[in-house]
Subunit: 205 residues, 2 copies
Protein backbone atom coordinates (compact mmCIF):
# COMPACT_ATOMS: atom_id res chain seq x y z
CA UNK A 1 0.00 0.00 0.00
CA UNK A 2 1.48 3.39 -0.93
CA UNK A 3 2.27 5.81 1.89
CA UNK A 4 -0.53 8.32 2.54
CA UNK A 5 0.20 11.82 1.30
CA UNK A 6 -1.02 14.94 3.15
CA UNK A 7 -0.63 18.35 1.48
CA UNK A 8 1.89 16.81 -0.89
CA UNK A 9 4.04 15.34 1.89
CA UNK A 10 4.44 11.62 2.59
CA UNK A 11 3.15 10.53 6.02
CA UNK A 12 6.59 9.68 7.50
CA UNK A 13 8.07 13.01 6.47
CA UNK A 14 4.90 14.81 7.58
CA UNK A 15 5.21 13.43 11.11
CA UNK A 16 8.92 14.34 11.33
CA UNK A 17 8.13 17.92 10.32
CA UNK A 18 5.32 18.09 12.88
CA UNK A 19 7.65 16.89 15.65
CA UNK A 20 10.32 19.41 14.65
CA UNK A 21 8.01 22.42 14.56
CA UNK A 22 5.24 21.62 17.02
CA UNK A 23 7.37 19.62 19.48
CA UNK A 24 5.38 16.40 19.40
CA UNK A 25 3.23 14.23 17.12
CA UNK A 26 -0.15 15.93 17.05
CA UNK A 27 -3.43 14.31 15.91
CA UNK A 28 -4.86 17.82 15.49
CA UNK A 29 -2.17 18.79 13.00
CA UNK A 30 -2.68 15.55 11.05
CA UNK A 31 -6.40 16.25 10.84
CA UNK A 32 -5.57 19.88 10.05
CA UNK A 33 -3.45 18.60 7.17
CA UNK A 34 -6.50 16.92 5.63
CA UNK A 35 -8.55 20.08 6.17
CA UNK A 36 -5.89 22.23 4.49
CA UNK A 37 -5.59 19.71 1.66
CA UNK A 38 -9.30 20.15 0.93
CA UNK A 39 -9.18 23.93 1.26
CA UNK A 40 -6.05 24.45 -0.85
CA UNK A 41 -7.36 22.10 -3.54
CA UNK A 42 -10.40 24.32 -4.00
CA UNK A 43 -8.69 27.71 -3.59
CA UNK A 44 -6.11 26.68 -6.19
CA UNK A 45 -2.61 28.03 -6.72
CA UNK A 46 -2.29 31.67 -5.73
CA UNK A 47 0.48 33.93 -4.51
CA UNK A 48 -2.16 35.69 -2.38
CA UNK A 49 -3.06 32.87 -0.01
CA UNK A 50 -4.32 33.84 3.46
CA UNK A 51 -5.66 31.53 6.14
CA UNK A 52 -7.89 32.13 9.16
CA UNK A 53 -8.15 29.55 11.94
CA UNK A 54 -11.02 29.64 14.42
CA UNK A 55 -9.07 28.04 17.26
CA UNK A 56 -5.70 28.70 18.88
CA UNK A 57 -5.03 24.97 19.31
CA UNK A 58 -3.03 22.91 16.78
CA UNK A 59 -4.58 24.31 13.57
CA UNK A 60 -2.36 27.45 13.56
CA UNK A 61 0.69 25.16 13.52
CA UNK A 62 -0.74 23.03 10.68
CA UNK A 63 -1.10 26.24 8.66
CA UNK A 64 2.37 27.54 9.51
CA UNK A 65 3.92 24.17 8.67
CA UNK A 66 2.06 23.47 5.43
CA UNK A 67 1.51 26.90 3.83
CA UNK A 68 3.52 30.13 3.43
CA UNK A 69 1.15 31.79 5.93
CA UNK A 70 2.56 32.49 9.40
CA UNK A 71 1.29 34.56 12.29
CA UNK A 72 4.29 36.90 12.12
CA UNK A 73 4.05 37.58 8.38
CA UNK A 74 0.40 38.51 8.77
CA UNK A 75 -1.06 35.97 6.33
CA UNK A 76 -2.46 33.78 9.12
CA UNK A 77 -5.15 35.24 11.35
CA UNK A 78 -6.39 33.44 14.42
CA UNK A 79 -9.71 33.76 16.22
CA UNK A 80 -9.86 32.28 19.72
CA UNK A 81 -13.32 30.77 19.24
CA UNK A 82 -12.52 27.17 20.13
CA UNK A 83 -13.89 25.98 16.77
CA UNK A 84 -11.87 23.39 14.87
CA UNK A 85 -12.33 25.15 11.53
CA UNK A 86 -10.30 27.22 9.09
CA UNK A 87 -10.76 29.30 5.97
CA UNK A 88 -8.21 29.56 3.17
CA UNK A 89 -8.78 32.50 0.83
CA UNK A 90 -7.26 34.70 -1.82
CA UNK A 91 -6.62 38.06 -0.20
CA UNK A 92 -7.07 39.91 -3.51
CA UNK A 93 -10.49 38.47 -4.38
CA UNK A 94 -11.60 37.61 -0.79
CA UNK A 95 -12.93 34.31 -2.20
CA UNK A 96 -12.06 31.17 -0.36
CA UNK A 97 -13.12 27.93 1.24
CA UNK A 98 -14.13 27.28 4.84
CA UNK A 99 -13.39 23.80 6.19
CA UNK A 100 -14.63 22.07 9.33
CA UNK A 101 -15.39 18.58 10.64
CA UNK A 102 -18.44 16.46 9.99
CA UNK A 103 -19.50 15.73 13.55
CA UNK A 104 -21.87 12.88 12.63
CA UNK A 105 -19.19 11.00 10.72
CA UNK A 106 -16.66 11.68 13.45
CA UNK A 107 -18.89 9.76 15.89
CA UNK A 108 -18.28 6.60 13.86
CA UNK A 109 -14.56 6.61 14.67
CA UNK A 110 -14.04 5.72 18.31
CA UNK A 111 -10.46 6.92 18.77
CA UNK A 112 -11.02 10.16 16.87
CA UNK A 113 -14.24 10.84 18.76
CA UNK A 114 -12.62 10.20 22.17
CA UNK A 115 -9.70 12.46 21.25
CA UNK A 116 -11.86 15.24 19.77
CA UNK A 117 -14.35 15.30 22.65
CA UNK A 118 -11.49 15.45 25.13
CA UNK A 119 -10.84 18.75 23.32
CA UNK A 120 -9.51 20.56 26.38
CA UNK A 121 -6.19 18.62 26.29
CA UNK A 122 -5.99 18.40 30.08
CA UNK A 123 -6.63 14.67 30.31
CA UNK A 124 -4.02 12.08 29.43
CA UNK A 125 -3.11 12.12 25.75
CA UNK A 126 -4.14 8.95 23.87
CA UNK A 127 -1.37 6.91 22.19
CA UNK A 128 -0.60 8.62 18.88
CA UNK A 129 -0.15 5.88 16.31
CA UNK A 130 -3.53 4.02 16.59
CA UNK A 131 -5.32 7.39 16.52
CA UNK A 132 -3.24 8.53 13.55
CA UNK A 133 -4.13 5.36 11.64
CA UNK A 134 -7.82 6.05 12.24
CA UNK A 135 -7.37 9.65 11.05
CA UNK A 136 -5.56 8.40 7.93
CA UNK A 137 -8.42 5.96 7.27
CA UNK A 138 -11.20 8.51 7.86
CA UNK A 139 -9.23 11.44 6.46
CA UNK A 140 -11.14 13.48 3.98
CA UNK A 141 -14.47 11.85 4.81
CA UNK A 142 -14.51 13.95 7.98
CA UNK A 143 -13.91 17.20 6.17
CA UNK A 144 -16.75 19.50 5.13
CA UNK A 145 -15.78 22.44 2.92
CA UNK A 146 -17.82 25.20 1.38
CA UNK A 147 -16.94 28.22 -0.72
CA UNK A 148 -17.10 31.52 1.13
CA UNK A 149 -16.52 35.18 0.50
CA UNK A 150 -14.93 37.26 3.24
CA UNK A 151 -16.64 40.46 4.35
CA UNK A 152 -13.30 42.30 4.32
CA UNK A 153 -9.56 41.70 4.32
CA UNK A 154 -8.49 40.62 7.80
CA UNK A 155 -4.94 41.94 7.69
CA UNK A 156 -4.81 45.52 8.88
CA UNK A 157 -2.54 47.54 6.64
CA UNK A 158 -3.50 51.08 7.59
CA UNK A 159 -0.75 53.33 8.98
CA UNK A 160 -0.74 53.35 12.77
CA UNK A 161 0.66 56.52 14.40
CA UNK A 162 3.02 55.62 17.23
CA UNK A 163 4.64 57.56 20.05
CA UNK A 164 6.51 56.95 23.27
CA UNK A 165 4.51 56.07 26.37
CA UNK A 166 4.90 58.86 28.99
CA UNK A 167 5.11 56.25 31.77
CA UNK A 168 7.42 53.48 30.50
CA UNK A 169 9.00 55.41 27.62
CA UNK A 170 8.44 52.59 25.14
CA UNK A 171 6.99 53.01 21.65
CA UNK A 172 3.32 52.06 21.23
CA UNK A 173 0.39 52.75 18.83
CA UNK A 174 -1.32 55.93 20.05
CA UNK A 175 -4.83 54.60 19.38
CA UNK A 176 -4.49 52.62 22.63
CA UNK A 177 -4.86 55.88 24.61
CA UNK A 178 -2.63 58.26 26.56
CA UNK A 179 -0.41 55.42 27.85
CA UNK A 180 0.51 52.01 26.47
CA UNK A 181 -1.63 48.90 27.20
CA UNK A 182 0.87 47.70 29.77
CA UNK A 183 0.86 50.98 31.75
CA UNK A 184 -2.96 51.00 31.56
CA UNK A 185 -2.92 48.06 33.93
CA UNK A 186 -2.70 45.11 31.54
CA UNK A 187 0.91 44.20 32.36
CA UNK A 188 1.32 40.45 32.85
CA UNK A 189 4.57 40.90 34.79
CA UNK A 190 6.32 42.70 37.63
CA UNK A 191 9.93 43.76 37.35
CA UNK A 192 12.33 42.13 39.77
CA UNK A 193 15.63 43.61 41.04
CA UNK A 194 17.58 46.09 38.93
CA UNK A 195 18.36 46.48 35.26
CA UNK A 196 21.31 44.22 34.53
CA UNK A 197 21.64 45.20 30.90
CA UNK A 198 25.30 46.08 31.28
CA UNK A 199 26.18 42.62 32.57
CA UNK A 200 24.90 40.89 29.44
CA UNK A 201 26.61 43.38 27.15
CA UNK A 202 29.97 43.08 28.84
CA UNK A 203 29.76 39.29 29.01
CA UNK A 204 28.83 38.70 25.43
CA UNK A 205 30.67 41.43 23.53
CA UNK B 1 36.04 38.64 10.62
CA UNK B 2 34.00 35.66 11.89
CA UNK B 3 30.37 35.44 10.81
CA UNK B 4 27.93 36.91 13.36
CA UNK B 5 25.99 34.33 15.35
CA UNK B 6 22.39 34.90 16.47
CA UNK B 7 20.78 32.41 18.86
CA UNK B 8 23.52 29.94 18.03
CA UNK B 9 22.98 30.19 14.26
CA UNK B 10 25.45 31.72 11.79
CA UNK B 11 24.13 34.80 9.97
CA UNK B 12 23.93 33.16 6.51
CA UNK B 13 22.00 30.17 7.80
CA UNK B 14 19.84 32.44 9.96
CA UNK B 15 18.72 34.45 6.92
CA UNK B 16 17.95 31.29 4.91
CA UNK B 17 15.77 29.99 7.73
CA UNK B 18 13.98 33.33 7.98
CA UNK B 19 13.23 33.30 4.26
CA UNK B 20 11.95 29.74 4.41
CA UNK B 21 9.61 30.28 7.33
CA UNK B 22 8.63 33.95 7.16
CA UNK B 23 8.70 34.26 3.36
CA UNK B 24 11.23 37.09 3.12
CA UNK B 25 14.29 38.54 4.84
CA UNK B 26 12.95 40.46 7.79
CA UNK B 27 14.83 43.13 9.77
CA UNK B 28 12.35 42.62 12.61
CA UNK B 29 13.20 38.95 12.93
CA UNK B 30 16.93 39.72 12.90
CA UNK B 31 16.45 42.25 15.69
CA UNK B 32 14.12 39.76 17.39
CA UNK B 33 16.96 37.24 17.23
CA UNK B 34 19.17 39.57 19.29
CA UNK B 35 16.32 40.14 21.74
CA UNK B 36 15.76 36.41 22.15
CA UNK B 37 19.50 35.84 22.49
CA UNK B 38 19.54 38.20 25.48
CA UNK B 39 16.38 36.74 27.01
CA UNK B 40 17.35 33.07 26.60
CA UNK B 41 20.83 33.77 27.95
CA UNK B 42 19.33 35.03 31.19
CA UNK B 43 16.48 32.52 31.50
CA UNK B 44 18.95 29.68 31.01
CA UNK B 45 18.31 26.16 29.79
CA UNK B 46 14.85 24.91 30.73
CA UNK B 47 12.37 22.40 29.31
CA UNK B 48 9.63 24.79 30.50
CA UNK B 49 10.32 27.75 28.24
CA UNK B 50 7.37 30.00 27.35
CA UNK B 51 7.47 33.25 25.43
CA UNK B 52 5.08 36.20 25.25
CA UNK B 53 5.34 38.77 22.47
CA UNK B 54 3.67 42.16 22.77
CA UNK B 55 3.17 42.63 19.03
CA UNK B 56 1.73 40.50 16.25
CA UNK B 57 4.38 41.70 13.79
CA UNK B 58 7.61 39.75 13.10
CA UNK B 59 8.48 38.87 16.71
CA UNK B 60 6.09 35.86 16.83
CA UNK B 61 7.95 34.38 13.87
CA UNK B 62 11.36 35.02 15.50
CA UNK B 63 10.12 33.04 18.51
CA UNK B 64 8.64 30.20 16.44
CA UNK B 65 11.83 29.96 14.38
CA UNK B 66 14.36 30.14 17.20
CA UNK B 67 12.67 28.43 20.16
CA UNK B 68 10.43 25.36 20.69
CA UNK B 69 7.54 27.73 21.43
CA UNK B 70 4.86 28.01 18.73
CA UNK B 71 1.40 29.54 18.73
CA UNK B 72 -0.25 26.18 18.08
CA UNK B 73 1.54 24.31 20.87
CA UNK B 74 0.52 26.98 23.35
CA UNK B 75 3.98 27.98 24.55
CA UNK B 76 3.92 31.27 22.67
CA UNK B 77 1.34 33.85 23.69
CA UNK B 78 0.80 37.01 21.68
CA UNK B 79 -0.65 40.34 22.81
CA UNK B 80 -1.68 42.71 20.02
CA UNK B 81 -0.28 45.79 21.77
CA UNK B 82 2.00 47.04 18.99
CA UNK B 83 4.99 46.99 21.37
CA UNK B 84 8.25 45.56 20.03
CA UNK B 85 8.94 43.61 23.22
CA UNK B 86 8.90 40.03 24.44
CA UNK B 87 9.22 38.05 27.66
CA UNK B 88 10.82 34.62 27.91
CA UNK B 89 9.98 32.76 31.11
CA UNK B 90 9.94 29.42 32.86
CA UNK B 91 6.30 28.34 33.08
CA UNK B 92 6.94 26.35 36.27
CA UNK B 93 8.53 29.21 38.25
CA UNK B 94 6.93 32.14 36.32
CA UNK B 95 10.36 33.83 36.46
CA UNK B 96 11.68 35.29 33.27
CA UNK B 97 13.20 38.19 31.40
CA UNK B 98 11.43 40.95 29.51
CA UNK B 99 13.31 42.43 26.54
CA UNK B 100 12.68 45.60 24.55
CA UNK B 101 14.55 48.22 22.54
CA UNK B 102 16.57 51.14 23.83
CA UNK B 103 14.88 53.96 21.96
CA UNK B 104 17.63 56.53 22.65
CA UNK B 105 20.33 54.28 21.27
CA UNK B 106 18.16 53.34 18.32
CA UNK B 107 18.09 57.02 17.28
CA UNK B 108 21.85 56.84 16.66
CA UNK B 109 21.40 54.34 13.83
CA UNK B 110 19.82 56.02 10.83
CA UNK B 111 18.67 52.95 8.88
CA UNK B 112 17.32 51.19 11.95
CA UNK B 113 15.55 54.32 13.13
CA UNK B 114 13.96 54.94 9.71
CA UNK B 115 12.82 51.31 9.53
CA UNK B 116 11.53 51.17 13.12
CA UNK B 117 9.63 54.44 12.93
CA UNK B 118 8.00 53.35 9.69
CA UNK B 119 6.61 50.64 11.99
CA UNK B 120 3.30 50.23 10.15
CA UNK B 121 4.95 48.41 7.18
CA UNK B 122 2.75 50.17 4.62
CA UNK B 123 5.49 52.30 3.08
CA UNK B 124 8.10 50.90 0.73
CA UNK B 125 10.40 48.43 2.47
CA UNK B 126 14.01 49.64 2.74
CA UNK B 127 16.73 47.50 1.09
CA UNK B 128 17.48 44.62 3.47
CA UNK B 129 21.23 44.16 3.46
CA UNK B 130 22.44 47.67 4.51
CA UNK B 131 19.82 47.69 7.28
CA UNK B 132 20.84 44.17 8.34
CA UNK B 133 24.49 45.26 8.56
CA UNK B 134 23.50 48.14 10.84
CA UNK B 135 21.45 45.76 13.01
CA UNK B 136 24.41 43.36 13.21
CA UNK B 137 26.65 46.28 14.23
CA UNK B 138 24.26 47.68 16.83
CA UNK B 139 22.84 44.32 17.85
CA UNK B 140 22.79 43.77 21.57
CA UNK B 141 23.47 47.44 22.34
CA UNK B 142 19.87 48.14 21.42
CA UNK B 143 18.47 45.50 23.72
CA UNK B 144 17.26 46.29 27.24
CA UNK B 145 16.37 43.29 29.38
CA UNK B 146 15.13 43.02 32.92
CA UNK B 147 14.11 40.11 35.13
CA UNK B 148 10.37 39.80 35.66
CA UNK B 149 7.93 37.57 37.45
CA UNK B 150 4.63 36.80 35.76
CA UNK B 151 1.40 37.37 37.67
CA UNK B 152 0.06 34.01 36.49
CA UNK B 153 0.58 31.33 33.86
CA UNK B 154 -0.72 32.59 30.53
CA UNK B 155 -1.61 29.24 29.01
CA UNK B 156 -5.15 28.29 29.91
CA UNK B 157 -5.30 24.61 30.84
CA UNK B 158 -8.67 24.39 32.55
CA UNK B 159 -11.24 21.99 31.04
CA UNK B 160 -13.63 23.78 28.72
CA UNK B 161 -17.09 22.20 28.32
CA UNK B 162 -18.10 22.07 24.68
CA UNK B 163 -21.33 21.36 22.84
CA UNK B 164 -22.83 21.72 19.39
CA UNK B 165 -24.13 25.11 18.30
CA UNK B 166 -27.93 24.91 17.77
CA UNK B 167 -27.62 27.13 14.69
CA UNK B 168 -24.63 25.84 12.71
CA UNK B 169 -24.29 22.44 14.42
CA UNK B 170 -20.54 22.84 14.94
CA UNK B 171 -18.73 22.14 18.21
CA UNK B 172 -17.81 25.19 20.33
CA UNK B 173 -16.91 26.05 23.97
CA UNK B 174 -20.19 26.69 25.78
CA UNK B 175 -18.82 29.65 27.77
CA UNK B 176 -19.29 31.74 24.60
CA UNK B 177 -23.07 31.64 25.17
CA UNK B 178 -26.11 29.87 23.69
CA UNK B 179 -24.66 29.91 20.15
CA UNK B 180 -21.09 29.91 18.81
CA UNK B 181 -19.19 33.19 18.22
CA UNK B 182 -19.80 32.93 14.50
CA UNK B 183 -23.58 32.57 14.84
CA UNK B 184 -23.57 35.43 17.35
CA UNK B 185 -22.75 37.74 14.43
CA UNK B 186 -18.96 37.61 14.38
CA UNK B 187 -18.67 35.56 11.19
CA UNK B 188 -16.04 36.99 8.84
CA UNK B 189 -17.54 35.18 5.82
CA UNK B 190 -20.70 34.45 3.84
CA UNK B 191 -21.25 31.07 2.26
CA UNK B 192 -21.46 31.01 -1.50
CA UNK B 193 -23.36 28.44 -3.62
CA UNK B 194 -23.95 24.93 -2.29
CA UNK B 195 -21.92 22.40 -0.35
CA UNK B 196 -19.67 20.67 -2.85
CA UNK B 197 -18.14 18.26 -0.36
CA UNK B 198 -19.03 15.24 -2.47
CA UNK B 199 -17.08 16.55 -5.47
CA UNK B 200 -13.82 16.76 -3.56
CA UNK B 201 -14.26 13.33 -2.03
CA UNK B 202 -15.09 11.63 -5.33
CA UNK B 203 -12.25 13.43 -7.12
CA UNK B 204 -9.56 12.62 -4.63
CA UNK B 205 -10.50 9.20 -3.31
Amino acid sequence: MPEPVICGIGYTDFIIRVEEFHGYRSPGILLGGFMLDAALHDVGTTPYLNVVTETVVCLPDAVQLLTPCTFGNGFLQIFDWGKFALTAYNRMTLSGVRVWLNHDRLLRYKLIRDWFERSDHTKKKPPFEPLAQEILKAGKELVIHRPVRLHRALKDTQPVPTGNCPECGESYPLHHGPTCPSCQGNAYYNYEAANHESRYISEKK
